[in-house]
């Protein structure tokens, strides 16, 4: 397999997996786990939750691979699943934050557990710190946030983004333009604070 796997495209691997070859699935996991994590992490800004979402995405690939048809690129298909799961998770997290604030009594205290998770903000050096950039991304409205991450972090083409989000290329272009300007504005505001 090691020698064979080099020549297989993602689409060929899915086909093999659909035919029952579990090694093809493992190869797809290896190819996509970090790419998906980067996308979801920028979206949720939580390593633990992001890893869970990636696990769910790859579980979905395992259970629903038969639903994939070779009319779309595999990467587009898997990113669509990840984007949908990430959106649901973000909604859930927001709800939970609201509930936890409401349910906190006077004696309740929130303890921050020291985490060994990877923190990109630690490595910042330039004008805008990564923490600031991530903060600005978090503040972006969802419609801009997704396109910005897919375009700037994942470096996907307009066409791929349009397929993942199910919107026209014109809308993608417009959202990228407005999203970038919004991000710039937010960063300026954060810097001034």
């Amino acid at each position: 397999m090691d020698r064979e796997k080099i020549k297989y495209t993602d689409e060929e691997l899915v086909k093999r997996f659909q035919e029952g070859d579990e090694r093809a699935y493992i190869e797809l996991v290896k190819r996509y786990k970090d790419r998906l994590l980067n996308f979801v992490y920028r979206y949720l800004n939580s390593f633990e939750q992001s890893e869970d979402v990636v696990q769910d995405t790859l579980m979905k690939l395992y259970t629903s691979a038969h639903m994939y048809r070779e009319i779309a690129k595999f990467s587009t298909w898997i990113f669509t699943i990840a984007a949908n799961l990430a959106k649901s998770e973000l909604r859930r997290l927001k709800r939970r934050r609201v509930i936890s604030i409401h349910s906190m009594g006077f004696d309740d205290k929130e303890y921050e557990i020291p985490s060994e998770d990877y923190d990109p903000a630690k490595e910042t050096t330039s004008n805008y710190g990564e923490k600031q950039i991530q903060q600005a991304i978090d503040t972006l409205p969802d419609q801009f946030k997704t396109v910005i991450i897919l375009r700037e972090v994942q470096q996907l083409s307009y066409e791929e983004i349009s397929q993942i989000l199910g919107i026209s290329i014109g809308t993608v272009k417009s959202r990228i333009n407005r999203g970038r300007l919004r991000l710039q504005k937010l960063l300026k505001e954060l810097k001034e604070q």
């Binding site: 970090d34 992001s50 990109p120 333009n177 710039q184």
Partner: protein, 178 residues
């Protein structure tokens, strides 16, 4: 080109998606407008920072955890099937027993009770013992006779054994009727 128009195409300018004419207009505007020039430079720096943000990696046990989850799901699926079978085995066996009982009852009723009842149609043996009842030739016999008669007509003077047999059979019917 004014600042507002430049704002609308700034992304396309960065991504080099503009046609020659628009690009030329945008360049002229940047030359003339320090605010837009600064904005463009700032945005370019943000985007470059975004694209070079360090990438995260899944933890080393990610794959083993995933495979554990998959195996767990598989087992759950299997046990769910077994549990479902166990849950439904009792009602299924009750329904099967009832159906068997009903089928047996119908069989017994049709083969024993119906033939012995006075309203029922008499069997072949009983019918043959009744002298006044007319006997109609079986359908197969008629079917065999008719074509042979036509053939006999066509042949003309040749003796036909079938024709004779048919006549004998008709005579028998007449005798029974008398």
């Amino acid at each position: 080109m004014d600042c507002y128009s430049f704002d609308r195409i700034i992304s396309d300018y960065i991504d080099a998606n503009l046609n020659v004419k628009l690009r030329q207009e945008a360049n002229e505007h940047i030359e003339a407008c320090p605010r837009c020039r600064e904005k463009l430079a700032d945005l370019k720096s943000i985007l470059s920072k975004l694209s070079s943000m360090p990438t995260c990696k899944t933890r080393s046990d990610f794959e083993s955890r995933l495979m554990d989850r998959i195996n767990q799901t598989k087992e759950q699926k299997e046990s769910r099937f077994i549990r479902m079978f166990q849950d439904y085995s009792r009602p299924i066996s009750v329904v099967a027993a009832v159906m068997l009982l009903v089928a047996t009852s119908i069989f017994v009723y049709t083969s024993v009770v119906i033939p012995n009842s006075p309203d029922s149609i008499p069997s072949a043996e009983i019918r043959s013992m009744e002298p006044n009842k007319s006997i109609t030739p079986p359908a197969t016999a008629i079917a065999n006779v008719k074509p042979t008669l036509v053939n006999a007509n066509n042949v003309g003077s040749l003796p036909d054994t079938n024709k004779v047999e048919t006549q004998n059979y008709n005579n028998q019917i007449m005798m029974v009727n008398e």
